[in-house]
Amino acid sequence: MATLTLGKAINEGLRKALEDDAKVLIMGEDVGKLGGVFRITDGLQKDFGEERVIDTPLAESGIIGTAIGLAIRGYRPVCEIQFDGFVYPAYDQIVSQVAKMHYRSRGKLRLPIVIRIPFGGGIGAVEHHSESPEAYFAHTAGLKVVACSNPADAYSMIQQAIATDDPVVFFEPKRRYWEKGDVDTSVAHSEAYPLFASRVVRRGTDVTVAAYGPMVKTALDAATAAAEEGRQLEVIDLRSLSPLNLGPVFDSVRRTGRLVVVHEAARAGGLGGEVAARVTEECFYSLEAPVLRVTGFDIPYPAARVEEEFLPDLDRVLDAVDRSYGW
């Protein structure tokens, strides 16, 4: 058991994947000598060479497009997109090519590509560095979309994402890169909790709170605060955004009768709406109140000095809990 930051846990997971399979490649901007702007690939080029940890030209479509060719050739590229807001130049290659080639080939061609995207706000950055574009990808058939929330998951999930033959868009909560947690690096990724599964991370009886990525910690903090007031929140880390694994959410809501969904991404067209619709279909007679959403507003990500007001926080989650009870 080691205590690692979330960023270091991904780094260790990448290292393990590079060791386990000679076909695994890391590619992206500044991932080599620099180790990435967040140092997630720190030291990997030194140990695995420039042919496997590749500093690419500065063009995101090119990163994904060439990764597709490498995957056709039998490689397993892990692409780093430097920031969430820079993925859009690669959007066509991801949505029209990565997502569809297996389908178009009637299953004859697999593209085991992982696209790592640090996402979300809270780091005081300038524009385009704090976005939450996960719904664009979760809406696209052919892509699997996951988000890690803690170091232990980060370590196993990145390895599982690389090992699966599905293309995976892997969202990393950048403001949690420095959060520490225990990681058991002796557990093989194949033995770890499954990649495309949600998980109850705190048991409770009164209100269910579903979140993913950076908002899981926020939800857990809210649960701690609520407990002091005598309300027991059950917190579920969705982990997999496509496919959604809502079985544990349904089970929980049938017990609590209340659900709050939390994400940083804007509300309109966001995953919270999808979760709410399905929970309503499955748990209609168990619900004591409508499913409530705590999300970013339907505005562009604002200037850094007001991002704390924009981002869902502990108080806004508790406010939603109150509103659920007040319905």
Binding site: I68, G69, R73, Y75, Q97, K108
Partner: protein, 386 residues
């Protein structure tokens, strides 16, 4: 014979015509031609081919069959048997020349118009027809055929080709005669796409064994070359740091010679090259297009005089490499192949609706499984009734 006839005037119109006046260049070695439109063999200092009569007859046969199959597909679309067809009419030499230049181990990344290259790879010509009939979306294994699926998004495949070529280097399959190379097909319109320019950057800095084969057929649907470029396309390669050459795209011998050399240079580790095959799309962009709205008949007629098949036939006649009996036999063979293609298209079954849920993910998805089951139950409610 002037270089490429209309070639330079459309590529560098306005800007350089005045400057060039009065200093006629020597025979243009930057426009590679080995067989003139009237069927005469000419020499080029850098490129040559030494085909036997048998091989020349083979190229003629390829050209005729490829054109005939294409005409049959156009007819099938007109009769409602295909949803759409992207005809290669006029571009047979570019496709047969480059397609035959590929060695067995080479990999091709086509657009949606490379039916001639596909044929020359020895692939069953029925393979892409499902896509155009609407019964599948390709459905073949690129690695099995060394021929990627057709790519409809303009230029996207040039990056795939480049990545694949990077993989060849990683696999240590360059630098020897049996090394591997990649060819990426695209058109004049695609050269404006970011992806194509990114592919040039990648291929250049990684010295990847990829040949960029641009069939400049003068039009991107309705837009003429002038809307894409102010310089001849092949000259763009210089800015990326690798060689570019313009070849007579209606000259099968020149297309073969230039492509073969570029591929062999690439497989030997000399990096990428851009080939601009200067040709003309004699038909519509696709069967949904009406070219009379954007180009004049005299332009089409001028290119008719440069027909790729006619010139090879003239050469074969002049050198007595083939006689009327041979030409007749090829026509008959092409007609038979076209007839067979027609029958096979007509007998293509529609897919089962539930098959649309298959192969979304290699490892499946419980959500899609659930949707498939739900939809199957829904369909069953119609069983035996209306």
């Amino acid at each position: 014979m002037s270089k490429g006839d209309g070639a330079q005037q459309s590529a560098t119109a306005n800007r350089s015509s005045a400057r060039d006046e009065g200093r006629r260049k020597p025979p243009d070695i930057e426009f590679v031609q080995l067989l003139t439109p009237d069927g005469s063999r000419v020499e080029h200092p850098d490129y040559d081919v030494d085909f036997t009569d048998d091989e020349l007859r083979g190229l003629y046969r390829d050209l005729v069959i490829v054109r005939k199959l294409d005409a049959e597909a156009t007819a099938l679309q007109r009769q409602g048997e295909l949803g759409i067809w992207a005809s290669l009419l006029g571009q047979e030499a570019a496709q047969v020349g480059s397609g035959r230049a590929l060695r067995k181990q080479d990999m091709a990344f086509p657009t949606y118009r490379e039916h001639g290259v596909l044929y020359c790879r020895g692939i069953d010509p029925i393979m892409p027809l499902g896509l155009f009939r609407g019964v599948d979306q390709g459905g073949w294994d690129p690695n099995e055929h060394k021929f990627n699926m057709y790519t409809i998004v303009i230029g996207a495949q040039t990056l795939h080709a480049t990545g694949y070529a990077m993989g060849i280097v990683m696999d240590g399959k360059v630098g020897t005669d049996d090394g591997e190379a990649v060819i990426a097909y695209f058109g004049d319109g695609a050269t404006s796409q970011g992806d194509v320019n990114e592919a040039f950057v990648w291929a250049s800095v990684f010295n990847s064994p990829v040949v960029f084969f641009c069939q400049n057929n003068q039009y991107a649907i309705s837009e003429p070359l002038e809307r894409q470029t102010r310089v001849p396309l092949y000259q763009r390669a210089a800015g990326f740091g690798f060689p570019g050459v313009r070849v007579d795209g209606n000259d099968v011998l020149a297309c073969y010679a230039v492509t073969r050399k570029a591929l062999d240079d690439a497989r030997m580790g000399q990096g990428p090259m851009l080939i601009e095959a200067y040709t003309y799309r004699m038909g519509a962009h696709t069967t949904s297009d009406d070219p009379t709205r954007y180009r004049i008949a005299s332009e089409v007629e001028a290119w008719q005089a440069k027909d790729p098949i006619k010139r090879l036939r003239s050469y074969l006649e002049r050198t007595h490499a083939a006689d009327d009996a041979y030409f007749g036999a090829v026509e008959d063979e092409a007609a038979r192949e076209a007839g067979t293609l027609r029958e096979r298209v007509l007998s293509m079954p529609n897919p089962d609706p539930l098959e649309m849920f298959d192969h979304v993910y290699p490892t499946g998805s419980p959500e899609i499984d659930e949707q498939r089951e739900t939809f199957a139950r829904y369909l069953e409610t119609f069983a035996g009734g209306h």
